[in-house]
Symmetry: C3
Subunit: 266 residues, 3 copies
Amino acid sequence: MTYPSLSGIDAGRELSRVRAAAPLVHCLTNSVVTNFTANVLLAFGAAPAMVVAREEVADFAAIAGALSVNVGTLNAEQAEAIRLAVASAILAGTPWVLDPVAAGALAFRTDFCRELLDARPAAIRGNASEIRALAGLASAGRGVDSQDSSEAAIDAARTLAERCGAVVAVTGEVDYVTDGQRVLAITAGDPLLTRVTGTGCSLSALVAAFLAGADDRLTAVASACATMAVAGQLAAREAPTPGRFAVALLDQLSLLDSRALEGALQ
Amino acid sequence: MTYPSLSGIDAGRELSRVRAAAPLVHCLTNSVVTNFTANVLLAFGAAPAMVVAREEVADFAAIAGALSVNVGTLNAEQAEAIRLAVASAILAGTPWVLDPVAAGALAFRTDFCRELLDARPAAIRGNASEIRALAGLASAGRGVDSQDSSEAAIDAARTLAERCGAVVAVTGEVDYVTDGQRVLAITAGDPLLTRVTGTGCSLSALVAAFLAGADDRLTAVASACATMAVAGQLAAREAPTPGRFAVALLDQLSLLDSRALEGALQ
Amino acid sequence: MTYPSLSGIDAGRELSRVRAAAPLVHCLTNSVVTNFTANVLLAFGAAPAMVVAREEVADFAAIAGALSVNVGTLNAEQAEAIRLAVASAILAGTPWVLDPVAAGALAFRTDFCRELLDARPAAIRGNASEIRALAGLASAGRGVDSQDSSEAAIDAARTLAERCGAVVAVTGEVDYVTDGQRVLAITAGDPLLTRVTGTGCSLSALVAAFLAGADDRLTAVASACATMAVAGQLAAREAPTPGRFAVALLDQLSLLDSRALEGALQ
């Protein structure tokens, strides 16, 4: 079965909207990728803020444009901060994104992610193994790697989207984004995106940026995925090795404009 | 009103002094910028040490050449470690620097920074919003961004410097550095410095490096600001996008010598 | 006295074995180098996983190919997680590596490292000061810097290796690797490796990758050291400044093959 592709025109319009708004994105993310995530947001033109303390997260989630939650190095203290931030985001109407890193592989974080599903995330972004695990299906992940193709998680993504009222993005060789009814496919990208740590995690933060002030959440999430995938594709052309690729990815995120994004999605 | 510029000759001499001494800089900083801060210090020629545990910070602050404290991702545990480190630094005569990230925007860290002002920092380095907030004035910050120009914080900086006995640096498009009496201006820099996370935070660590063994603290702090600003200016010439700029900034910090710094400040 | 060099043929064979296996390496490391360590492992072709919570480390250490423990920013909470991970690794037969950052300079971590020596590390990787301190000798370190040459720690390394049943690597201008009986020398490398934070720490994670499934642990550890040293040497040729060097190091780790490694060690 084939799914419709994200429209280049829609993606270009979303990119322009987000860059003009420069939304403040509150990130509660893992310790491996905080720096890279902040630089991805800054390079694109959003404003990252990594506020982490229990004493501060609720205040900040209420004034941020969006909140990004990532459980990659979850511990009990961070879980408590995430609960406070998410509760505040919901009260304030701040959209929030869940990145369920390695859900399914480890019980502590899997249970926590399932608990968070009740708190109505605006979006969930993960690989096929993580999305299948959240939907209650068996998966073949080992930690952060997905051993499943993204296609194998489309049904799980739809189920999860319907159950939570969230847009769900399964990213991989092809990205699929669904609100439970519609499914959009994004075929850009490059394997080098898997050779640099934090490209998926920072994509989740970019998804949050695109959700700030979005009219159509499905298009917004898909456009964030397209932005990262196309920037990765362009970066790989000039930089075929992981060190230079990571640098070029930031550069391309800063250079990519609506026209180039639209052209790349034709 | 205009302020005298930092003398190029003074800045060049300070740069040579610090690089020859290769001071050990103890950093208690935020989780977003630890890696970049260490690399900034190493690239320039100082020796970073990120000792964080309550069990160790007091011992280490006593043997370090200087201590750099940054509240960007403050939590209760780190606040306790900072208190111990600062108390030990004062007893040992180790100069210490306060970087009050997002002070004014969030109560927990603002209160903590105000508490630390009693512990006689040798220097305080922040943007206009942060310095105004510490001085007790209203500010327009939203998290780490300053919405005020650095010029709008000069009076606040003088007041704060007099009250604490610290050198205060307000950085922005123009940097102003004051000991309460004198004010020095530094007009180098590049907007790309705001597109990479941690350039301000690592400047605070560089300020600490310049304070180790300094005779004239005003000149030392201003010279650290000039070093970062000129390195940023040179980096922007060869690298106009944020990914490559961050790499080039480290390179320029390693290459910059007293003569080039002196020339750039004419 | 001179020691035999690591055989290029052995090193090349080990490199090919590890890259083909793409082992899952569980890292409990310091907050300065988590990102760089993950990128070093990914660039080379291994699979990093930075699982840190007390609730998860035991489960993960049991399924990982190897475990890498680094005490660079040790605190009480991490010490507890490390104890759980190491105990699980031993039960499961997972080889684990100790990187005793700044042992000898600070009592808390030195005591903890000594406690861990009873838990039979497969390998210990440190600079001369750290290895001397673990063996109970006086050292001249100041934090993470070694003031001793690696040669001055060979006897300490042999003693430590015999006492713990571990392979011990002392890295510096020349690297020495010993199992207590044999000593292998690796003379590749470049001083720029000391101008980027985390090259030693990420080498310890690479040592863990090489230990996963190794037949001959002495050769495996020495080959990991040679891989980093030769990649550093090649990176320095194209990138003489620390910013570009760090990028080039990742690139060379991804490009280096068994033939090039073998050739470089002739």
